[in-house]
């Protein structure tokens, strides 16, 4: 079916481009030239190009020209105008490789499609989709979605060993959506949206219902453009038990313009990706500024895939990583539909080359301020043909020479665990660490606990440095059995260099016997807590929005220079509820029936049974003789 659709869409595109005028092709080239100009004037990030003269923009333009279809001048101008007004979208892809101190390696793919259109405008019905996937576009317009963030994760991100990820995500599936304020029935839209998304991504998102959906009152502010933030239009749900496997990756790859055929997405092979310590794929859709003046909106679709390969299972214990070792593929070309296709390798810890050696060497370096730190990256621009060398393949190789020192502790870190014993009560402990030496900053902790763990909020205590720490804002919505989970949000000020502990006691509920899953002895999952904070940054963050910032540094909008926004997810909890023995009804029925049958039956027989002597039956000859005798009227035999 994929081949069919691919073939059909190609036919469709060819028909349309042959009908369009050359002015449409000019418009595309003009857009490209604009971005080219911007690249040369901006100074952050600085492109230290030791070669000097070769500009990537010229190659980009040349690339575009070679893939243009022959324009047919036969049709009128009316069609061409509507065509130019309809689709102006661009696609960028990038891969960031960051070697971690523990010997593992972190690869982060980001694919961004930017489209200048408005789904929510009433008069304009969007019907021409080019790079933006049609399935998502239809979902956005049908359910009046302002922002959509969905992620599927396998594994848990270890902040203490790996640092902060570019885009955090909790284990399992997480979905949070901001609806437009014209929606009247948010819950109905939410229910239908989860069903449609579960069909698109082949996941069991239809298990999201009112019992695990919450409406946070201060967390999860929109990441895109917007004025009003009425939290009535926000819904958040998480499914910690959701498995991620090839059947989720396949539809995710189908949303990409180049599919899995060209560009960076050829590296996405499921056998290698799922044999890793951490795998997370996400889709983020939000409205963003079209340009620096920010006069009009554009829709941005970001597909991100974060994966951490383990030194021992994937790396066979040797500290030597290459694209072929990680993905069992090498890069052969950039995606022809992409305006930029780059690979960044983090070499901040390796300024003189004493820690590891990177080959093929590249003169292009780039600096970016991301996660509060200024990092240096080697840039491989895949749109340049000379990247691929004689063999037409690019295989990056990182070979370690020395031992890396200790990692800097991350500034914000959180843990969560269940304390207590028995199957009746327990205690949830959430521990948040602030490792900054002298700055205190506030964090917003959001906890969503299912209704079958009945929290006792009067036992809630927040202690920092063994003293009571009163939160400046608490929002608590109690659970309603079988309707609504608990929602607890607190704004806590973390003192510098301290550990803050939040404890709350709970009681486990006994469920109705139909509500147990087929395997209740596995336990029940409680979703991760979310800690959102504005962490003080070591270097000044970049508050200007520019088109050519690398994708990994432009995900979260930055409002002030001195801090950056970070979200940390804790571990999900696995809690045992008191489980009845499901074999007991069968046992009870057997036992009771046996007792009744044997005991009562024999007693009844003893009381009511009477014995009679039975005449033995005569043999056949005698019976016949008796019959003849009866006819004759003669007395019968014995």
């Amino acid at each position: 079916m994929a081949a069919h659709r691919c073939g059909l869409s190609l036919v469709f595109i060819l028909i349309l481009s042959s009908l369009a005028c050359p002015s449409s092709c000019d418009a595309l080239e003009k857009a490209n030239e604009n971005t080219g100009e911007k690249q040369s004037v901006s100074d952050t990030p600085r492109e230290v190009n030791t070669d000097g003269s070769i500009a990537a923009e010229d190659l980009n333009e040349r690339q575009w020209q070679s893939t243009d279809v022959e324009a047919d001048r036969s049709d009128g101008t009316k069609d061409s105008e509507s065509f130019t007004a309809a689709a102006r979208d661009q696609f960028q892809e990038e891969l960031v490789i960051r070697p971690l101190h523990s010997g593992d390696i972190y690869a982060s793919f980001q694919f961004r499609t930017l489209w200048d259109t408005d789904f929510l405008q009433e008069r304009q019905k969007v019907s021409h989709y080019r790079l933006f996937p049609k399935s998502l576009g239809q979902v956005l317009s049908k359910f009046s979605v302002r922002e959509l963030h969905i992620s599927f994760t396998q594994g848990f991100w270890r902040t203490m060993q790996w640092g902060q990820p570019f885009i955090p995500s909790p284990p399992g599936a997480e979905l949070w959506v901001w609806f437009h304020d014209t929606v009247s029935d948010v819950d109905g839209n939410w229910k239908e949206l989860t069903n449609v998304l579960s069909g698109i991504f082949c996941a069991s998102l239809n298990f999201i219902d009112l019992t695990n959906t919450v409406q946070p009152s201060a967390s999860f502010k929109p990441l895109g453009l917007g004025n009003a933030t009425d939290h009535r239009f926000l819904r958040y749900a998480t499914l910690p038990r959701e498995i991620v496997c090839t059947e989720n990756l396949t539809p995710w790859k189908k949303l990409l313009p180049c599919g899995s055929k060209a560009g960076l997405s050829v590296l996405l092979k499921s056998e290698k990706l799922f044999h890793s310590s951490f795998h997370s794929q996400a889709v983020h859709i939000r409205p963003v500024c079209q340009d620096e003046q920010c006069t009009s909106k554009a829709w941005e679709l970001r597909q991100t895939l974060n994966v951490v390969f383990d030194l021992y299972t994937s790396g066979q214990g040797k500290k030597e990583w290459s694209l072929f070792k990680m993905f069992s593929r090498t890069l052969t070309e950039a995606c022809p539909l992409a305006t930029s296709s780059k690979v960044y390798v983090d070499i901040t810890d390796n300024p003189e080359g004493e820690l590891f050696e990177l080959s093929p060497a590249t003169p292009l370096l780039s600096q970016a301020v991301v996660l509060g730190d200024r990092r240096t990256y080697s840039v491989f621009d895949l749109t340049r043909a000379e990247m691929f060398g004689q063999l037409r393949s690019l295989n990056l190789l990182l070979r370690w020479k020395g031992d890396s020192g200790d990692m800097l502790r991350p500034l914000l870190h959180a843990e969560r665990y269940v304390a207590g014993f028995g199957l009746q009560t327990g205690e949830i402990h959430t521990v948040i660490y602030n490792n900054h030496p002298y700055r205190a900053f506030p964090v917003l902790l959001m906890d969503s606990v299912p209704w079958y763990l009945q929290l006792y909020i009067h036992t809630l205590t927040v202690t920092s440095k063994s003293r009571d720490n009163k939160p400046s804002y608490i929002h608590y919505q109690p659970a309603k059995d079988r309707h609504r989970p608990h929602l607890l949000e607190m704004l806590i000020q973390l003192p510098p260099h301290s550990m803050t502990e939040v404890t709350v006691q709970f009681e486990r509920a006994l469920l109705k016997w139909t509500e147990y899953t087929p395997d209740p002895n596995h336990g029940f999952y409680v979703g991760s807590s979310v800690v959102s904070a504005l962490v003080p940054s070591m270097v000044a963050m970049n508050t200007n929005f520019t088109q050519d910032q690398p994708l990994f540094s432009s995900f979260v909008p930055v409002k002030e220079e001195s801090s950056y926004f970070v979200r940390v997810y804790t571990e999900p909890l696995l809690v045992n509820l008191p489980t009845p023995d499901f074999s007991m009804p069968y046992n009870v029925i057997c036992l009771t029936c046996t007792v009744v049958a044997v005991g009562y039956g024999s007693f009844y027989n003893l009381l009511t049974r009477t014995f009679q002597v039975d005449e033995p039956s005569l043999p056949l000859a005698k019976r016949l003789a008796n019959l003849i005798r009866r006819i004759r009227g003669v007395p019968l035999l014995a």
């Binding site: 019907s127 069909g199 201060a218 929109p222 909008p557």
Partner: protein
Amino acid sequence: MAFSLDTNCGLLNHNIIGPIYCTSTIFPPDILITQFWFNYRHVANTLSVYRSVKRLGIPDSHIVLMLADDMACNYRNPKPATVFSHKNMEFNVYGDDVEVDYRGYEVTVENFLTPRSKRLLSDDRSNILIYLTGQTGNSHGGNGFLKFQDSEEISNMELADAFEQMWQKRRYNELLFIIDTCQGASMYERFYSPNLMALASSQVGEDSLSHQPDLAIGVHLMDKYTFYLLEFLEEVHPASQANMNDLVSVCAHRVSVSPGHHTDLFQRNPGSVLITDFFGSVRKVEITKDTINLTSSVKSGSGDMQIESLTYVDQLPVAEIIHQKPKQKDWHPPDGFILGLWTLILLVFFQTYGIKHLKHIF
């Protein structure tokens, strides 16, 4: 399952552009119903039939695949994202483009018989193939039922009734039912709708055996019946002329238990029914040279674009959060408990003091 008992439209839509016609639409659901790691072979069975069916031309939009447990990305799988059907890990049936429609807890009797979402839109020209594998009642109990997730079951009467409903609503043209479990023949004993053909891996009273274990993975990889079925299907190509009699006979003499088949309800002679009628799909493509008129898209009307100040929202506005007014809760009418309490108080009051004292109070 390929039908629904009410007539709402499903989620699948066919994007047909241009003059392409589908003939003999075929809808095969593949269903696997057991949990736990040691039932790895059931997943391998289902996936191998799924693979054959896809290879012979049926698109994913016409297949419903239900897997009750996740074997490929299970933590016990030494090679994640793979499911092997032959030992020494020769043949990965999981592949790279599998689409599972129902997985984990979604595989229930209710979703099997009446799916509320992700259903197929079959009509009276569709041929349906249903492949079930799992565990039936065998030494664990009676026969005539199939276990779902170890906690539910579907009986052969329910299946027969479901097929009859499908027939009444004209949801299939011909149906082939294959079941690979112990005592599989007991599941099709009660069928009574026309145009049904059923194949089972074992008779009543017999057990269906598994084929080969793999020492690296540690469990049995496939069942014997499906193994030979897969071997047979590997030789079938979309234009093959093999018929049902070949299918029935290839599995008969090589396995130690005797598979059963039930062709009485089928109107055509099994010898004239092609395998590809159920397992494959051929699409006729008609090319046209006529001009197609495309409607122009609606004008964007961007004349009155609002130049509102568009800004990003502050991610953690501390001051705003602290001074957030508590939300006005909607007024709800008093609960039943409160009403009952007040009624009780009033009743006791009037009982004690009597109605005639009312005028002193009001």
